[in-house]
Symmetry: C2
Subunit: 201 residues, 2 copies
């Protein structure tokens, strides 16, 4: 199994260092109810503006709801379907448009929903699982299939399961992606000290 | 010092369980350059759609740049200034409007920026620090003070430092907030199995 730790100039916590987004999943191993609940609890306890918890997560567990899982799978883009066929657990994160307490627009809803999704993804690592978020899915199809209201925006689908070896990926192009070196832009390109454009670190 | 662990039905990873957003900071202890870099690296290695890393983070370290720190502090809302005066390190997270590779709108930019900000906040816990994100600040003032371009949206300011005891907070109302019990909405109110509104867990 590939472990591809983040290459950082100083050590960071183990979950963040080990998290990445693999495409090789073990089709023979499901995600238990306790593991699924740990993923949910980690998302649930992430922070949000005014404590609004503006996210909603849909989850489809192939073991307990194969028909629902199939419907979710069918919303994925063609490229994602190539490898997601082996994925036992799918989530969809959605962000609310407004605050419940006053009906005003919540400009932090997508930001906060991303935080919950990352917390879920790091908990996957803690559970011996892997998580891979995807932007490639059919929003309209998902809205229709799962009765997602207009005032919630589907943001990402998240594949969760046990990792498999890269050579178990049948599709050649997908396998090449799995083996490609990880990387990030330079610190100075994204992190600024004191004012815009002035490199931090 | 208050430790106020998340109350979860199953155990979750220690960083997520211990992370919360305190207002009591120790004014006598700064954040080291190595700690600041660990926070940056944790944010840097979080995931993003198409690997775009659409975030930008500004950072002001009171120890090394007291004038810049003061300018950042002056952007905070009155309520946040009540307790942030003791905070040694301030960040501001910003989300890009478009993808660099094609100039198209990036609908995941705020979501991804939230992920990077949560990763930074969890790394704070790993470093023995605490982080507190704030939505209450003056966007226009920040844009003018730090030359933030129009195509980036300031999302949150983030206070980072060493935690202090709640009774060190002078302002009575702020101190009461610090002591208020933590909580989250029921799992069933935010997490759905199979279709919208059908409780998960």
């Amino acid at each position: 199994m590939q472990e591809r730790k983040a290459m950082t100039s100083v050590p960071i916590n183990d979950l963040a260092a080990r998290r990445w987004s693999p495409r090789a999943f073990d089709a023979t191993r499901g995600v238990s109810a306790a593991q699924q609940m740990a993923l949910i609890e980690a998302a649930r306890w992430s922070p949000s503006c005014f404590g609004a918890e503006p996210w909603r997560f849909l989850v489809w567990n192939r073991t307990t709801d194969p028909a629902g899982w199939q419907q979710a799978f069918d919303c994925l883009s063609e490229n994602n379907r190539k490898w997601c066929k082996k994925v036992p657990l799918l989530f969809m994160s959605c962000a609310g448009a407004t605050f419940e307490h006053n009906g005003q627009a919540n400009r932090w809803a997508q930001y906060d929903t991303g935080m919950a999704a990352l917390s879920l993804s790091l908990e996957a690592v803690a559970q011996g699982l892997v998580a891979h978020q995807m932007g490639g899915f059919d929003i309209a199809k998902a809205r229709a299939a799962f009765a997602i209201p207009d005032d919630f925006m589907p943001m990402a689908m998240i594949a969760v399961g046990h990792q498999a070896a890269a050579d178990t990926i049948e599709d050649e192009e997908t396998r090449q992606k799995e083996l490609k070196a990880r990387g990030r832009k330079a610190v100075a390109a994204r992190f600024y000290a004191g004012r815009w454009g002035h490199p931090a670190g």
